[in-house]
Amino acid sequence: MPTSGCRLDENPGFFSRGGVDPRAKVFVTFAFLLVVTSFGKYEISRLTPLFLYPVSITAVSCVPVAKLLRRVLVALPFVLFVGLFNPLFDRQILFKAWGLSISGGWISFVSITFRSLLAVAAAVVLAMTTPFDRLCLGLEKMGVPRVLVTQLQFLYRYLSLLQEEAVRMVRAHALRARGNRPKIRVSSAASMIGFLLLRSLDRATRIYRSMLVRGFDGEVRLMKPLRFAWSRDGIFVAFWTLYFLTVRFVDVPGRLFGWVLGR
């Protein structure tokens, strides 16, 4: 997260700061996810054209592919766990080819895997190509309550700071305990979390004070107008929406197959 690697949200360019309006990206992300999830559970091939979206954004915006893939893989286990029940429960043979019988469960399992890859990639691409403050600004302009937006900003700001505190605690515990990988007992975990909580409460008090001395009156003001540029953001939205709708209505892989074989 905030520490290692390519600092995407700081790279100047089409998709980062000063790039496509975050509102456009949020809209396109939702449109994408709606189309992905709208396909039937046995659909595989028609999901494939949708990969163009994460792939092309990744390509244009310098998201490191390895990092993206790692994130995507981390999200897979739960989905695969649930998905693996499909072959178990859905044994109806959907088709036979070359002496091979494939059940509906296996097809829907592959479909779930594809959906998962697409959905996670979309989320990661959105997060990696949008500076968080601009994303928050966009969300506010899209009608998300101010208090939740401010909350997201504060949470994001102090995330790594408090995580480092926790890591230091765990390390200190490991140094005191015996064994190579000492386990934390519930009771000591509770007191560690308790300490962490007290420190967090102190931190909140100090932040509040530093807000007060700078004239805080209950409202967090931001001075950064977002400009929705139709020539850029409008085209971005229009292009992808059109693409997603086409993919939804037209069997692109089927057409492609037919075209290649001259049928």
Binding site: L126, Q151, D251
Partner: protein
């Protein structure tokens, strides 16, 4: 357990997003009614605290496995339901974006499952009822365990409902329920014990912290209870019912249950049913779709504008040729998408 986009139908995802948006607006309005400036940094830092606390992995006695805090109940106890709901919502948004937990479309489900139940059900009706205005160590522990268990059971149940209503996973309702509820009972007990211990710890070190939270949330009266219970029931039902109606085939709850019971052999699984889009397309029929159009391998007699139900029923009887075209076409598309990506990246890096 996070609900994932991949297991979700648009109807269920959309409904839950709408429900969650309503709850968020409601909580935001409630907070405005009792303004407290110091709450803004407090909520923010406590949201980050949840992430930090989750980095402390402890061993769960007698199982050999390890776990970490969920944190929903701790936030409810420290902040009261409205602020806690918003903090948990923000935590889940960040998890969906940066840690790929769940998904963006599934955010509505996840916020509902993991924030609504602890904040608006377990905290007011269980924890506050048990602990009341005169906390003691025992009461805190009991209240924390019971409310954590209840919150997680409801959340797990909700995951099952959402999954089954979506109809992507084949896990039958009963099997899934039997998988989820006992696991979450265990998780709930551990969560409750840790929550109780942490709250007791804070209560001893800084009693005033808990007092101020309790003052912000008076014990729920009947009206609040009615509102919340009604809201919960409405949410569950609209979520279930809407997706039910959205599917033109009984693939929801009933179907799964029937299948588990083994009483009914269904001729056709339901697919491409969630989509109003698909229905629209069939009506318009100017963008033929390969499942419906005369297939290359000779089943050309099938009329293009057949009734949707019939087509749905026939789809599983896919002939190999169509499948091959699907597979090869899919592979072609993927290759094309990948190639385009490489080209684009090349173009971008050359420009730099």
């Amino acid at each position: 357990m996070h609900m994932a986009d991949a297991l979700l139908s648009p109807a269920v995802g959309g409904t839950m997003l709408a429900v969650t948006a309503g709850l968020t607006a409601y909580s935001a309005r409630k907070l405005k009614e009792s303004p407290d400036e110091s709450r803004i940094p407090l909520m923010g830092v406590l949201g980050a605290f949840i992430f930090a606390a989750q980095m402390i992995n402890f061993s769960i006695p007698a199982t050999g496995s390890s776990g970490h805090l969920g944190g929903g109940m701790i936030l409810a106890i420290l902040l009261g339901p409205y602020a806690a709901f918003l903090v948990l919502a923000s935590v889940l948004v960040v998890q969906a974006l940066f840690f790929a937990d769940g998904g963006i479309l599934a955010l509505g489900c996840n916020i509902f499952n993991m924030a609504f139940f602890p904040c608006f059900v377990a905290y007011p009706f269980i924890y506050r009822k048990i602990v009341g205005d005169s906390p003691s160590r025992k009461k805190i522990l009991l209240g924390a365990i019971l409310s954590a268990v209840a919150g997680l059971q409801l959340g797990a149940f909700s995951v099952v409902l959402e999954t089954v209503a979506s109809g992507i996973s084949e896990l039958p309702f009963r099997t899934f329920l039997l998988l989820m509820q006992p696991i979450h009972l265990a998780i709930g007990i551990v969560e409750g014990i840790v929550t109780g211990a942490v709250v007791t710890f804070v209560w001893k070190a800084r009693p005033e912290v808990l007092e101020s939270a309790a003052q912000n949330t008076p014990l729920p009266g009947v009206s609040l209870r009615k509102v919340l219970a009604g809201l919960a029931v409405a949410a569950i039902f609209t979520g279930g019912a809407l997706s039910w109606f959205a599917s033109t085939y009984p693939d929801g709850l009933e179907w799964s249950m029937a299948k588990t019971a083994g009483t009914e052999e269904l001729e056709a699984p339901a697919e491409r049913v969630h989509t109003a889009l698909a229905a629209l397309q069939e009506k318009l029929a100017f963008l033929p779709d390969y499942g419906f159009r005369p297939s290359p391998a000779g089943k050309d007699s099938q009329p293009e504008v057949a009734a949707a139900g019939e087509n749905e029923g026939k789809w599983p009887a896919v002939d190999p040729a169509t499948t091959v075209s699907g597979l090869v076409g899919g592979a072609l598309t993927l290759t094309l998408a990948g190639g385009l990506g490489i080209l684009l990246r090349g173009a971008v890096s050359r420009r730099k």
